[in-house]
Subunit: 382 residues, 2 copies
């Protein structure tokens, strides 16, 4: 195992009704005023917004609202949040929504305490040295943002979907109530399944050394997502399935699955970010298109691990059968596996390659993922 | 899944050479003087002690030594540590050793800031509300104490082996360098394997509801311990096996394997504590005697989970075959499975029962584990 440091200070409040105490969790940190961030009006319709407001008010916490955060969240909205945070001197951010709201909130939290342009953090021009504390109620299980250091934001002007990673943006408290995730559409459920599987396989396949114990944890996360997605598609009210899905999503990207791993990279995310940035496809949908294509291209480079995957996840004998089984499973749950399902034509691949190659540079992977290679991979997704 | 709160603030520094930076980790918290606790003189012979002292000195940290902590650590030594901590106004404890040293250090950390008798915390007469920060270099992978809230100490006067559990005694930083665990004897290696398996199965079998995802993580920990113990018995220098063993030990009792679990209890520990308290047997050795006996007694109460264990750990078809396979594996690695191996006679069981029944009350399990039941279980270990 490779040397590592692990320190994940996020407090998880998991289960039914936990959101009712949100004001108390925030007040325990002495916070008196928050920026309350959210996405659609869904949370106003289903009563969550009222619950949150009541809890904040009961704990004497003022709040400034910032709604309308969209999926594949954009930099302009982050700027708006930073302006609001600064203008109102908020002491923390409370994010109520999915990964897009939370990622925007993390960027706002860092940007609010920075004199320069928050995009500096995304392009590596500056390092995050502090951030406002972030609290969240996560209403979609997918990104794992509720227990990690990451945030991904799209710069609309430059068409760059870039990320930050800083321990300063670990949420202070994350509330995961599986019941609040029941209202997620079937479409977004399967996209989320794809996202969690992508988080799981990136390191699993790309590492130059991967400890068995960590690989087994990852296989548990993948198997859990596969099993619970199937349950939830036919029985959306199944609380325990929803809960296990949510916990697998959190575990898949809270750092634990990368401990002791050597040389992992994120090529699927790297390529998918171009689809999201250029076509605004849902992240998970983009990933289920990229993954089988990337796996077919990559398999010969780490065949043993692909065989392990095939056997332990799908009970298949060969590496290729494992890839086929994953693609077939994506088809079965109806998350896309082909660019054509986004009405993207083969003739557009060149422009995707140009964008993805910029990502490859940002990911430090441009040596392996040349434009030719990116084209080969994308052609496998036609 | 049952509602839960999870917050584990311990920072893990894992890997080769990490102990060299111990002074820096402590200095980062502004600490200027520590109580340096350890057990045997082994750490002086193998150079670890010199490394630690050099790092403390390089960081301007004074230290007061408290050596001679024994396994199955005793209350009198904890008192000695508390006196030393108070007399010298130390600001933190640095534990260099295995679980016994660390558990003693946690008790000292809590006792140093308490006006009353530290034993009050063990018998539930008082609650821990604060503790000195604890840092540690863990030289034996077994108890998981390096990333949890627990400490177990024996009161020699009353023959009670009792525990505390408080978030105030989470270590601040735990250093796990698998290389430092190489000098552990084969005996203690197999006792440690037994201990980690015990931590794994207690909740797994006793819970009234156990999430699949958590059960799978536990199975990974058990399978890892079984595989790496066998490797280490024949190849003690195998770093990756040592590292995976160590990480499985940490994961097995850092709280993650109890999340969402309903109604778990610790009957094997409860009974074993009597063996340790009365006969001073090694904790892991006592556990490998108790576990098969307890499993035979308990199996009909949760047969499905025992079948799952049999299948997923040993590839066996029935619950009883799984129990037999575990007992056979303990025999194979040469950790005891019978009381007679401690030269404890059947005629002594009554006195063990008396002691264990007091534990049962302390564990809140006296209703299920009556004296008759305890006798039945112990008789299965003759």
């Amino acid at each position: 195992m490779k040397n590592f440091t692990y320190h994940n200070p996020t407090k998880i409040e998991f289960g039914k009704g936990k959101e009712k105490a949100v004001g108390g969790y925030i007040a325990a940190d002495g916070v008196k005023k928050v920026l309350l961030t959210y996405g659609s009006e869904r949370i106003k319709k289903d009563g969550l917004f009222d619950t949150v407001k009541a809890s904040l008010e009961a704990n004497g916490i003022e709040y400034i609202e910032l709604g309308g955060i969209i999926s594949n969240p954009v930099l302009s909205k982050v700027y708006e949040g930073i302006d609001a945070a600064k203008a109102h001197n908020v002491e923390a951010i409370l994010s109520v929504g999915g990964g897009s709201v939370l990622d925007s909130s993390k960027a706002i939290a860092a940007g609010a305490l920075y004199a320069g342009d928050v995009w500096d953090f995304f392009i590596g021009k500056s390092m995050i040295t502090k951030a406002l504390p972030v609290f969240d109620i996560i209403t979609l299980a997918a990104t794992g943002s509720e227990m990690n250091t990451y945030a991904v934001v799209t710069n609309e002007a430059t068409k760059q979907k870039f990320s930050i990673a800083s321990e300063h943006v670990y949420p202070r408290v994350s509330i995961i109530n599986p019941d609040l995730q029941k209202s997620v559409s079937k479409e977004y459920l399967v996209y989320s399944a794809s996202d969690v599987i992508a988080h799981s396989i990136e390191g699993y396949f790309t590492a130059s050394y991967h400890p068995d114990i960590i690989a087994s944890y990852i296989e548990t996360n993948i198997a859990t997502v596969i099993k619970t997605t199937e349950i939830l598609l036919s029985d959306p009210e199944n609380y325990n399935a929803r809960a296990e899905f949510a916990w697998a999503a959190t575990q898949a990207l809270n750092g634990t699955t990368y401990l002791g791993v050597e040389g992992a990279s994120y090529p699927n995310h790297m390529i998918e970010h171009s689809l999201s940035a250029l076509y605004n496809v849902a992240h998970g949908a983009g990933l289920s298109v990229i993954m089988p294509a990337w796996m077919k291209w990559y398999v010969s480079r780490n065949e043993k691990q692909f065989e392990r995957f095939a056997k332990n996840i799908f009970g298949k004998a060969t590496a290729n059968e494992g890839i086929e089984a994953l693609e077939a499973w994506f088809d079965k749950i109806k998350t896309p596996t082909r660019l054509s399902q986004f009405v993207i034509k083969a003739s557009e691949i060149d422009s995707i390659v140009e964008n993805a190659y910029e990502n490859a540079k940002a990911f430090g992977l441009a040596e392996m993922y040349t434009k030719e290679v990116l084209k080969d991979i994308l052609n496998l997704a036609v």
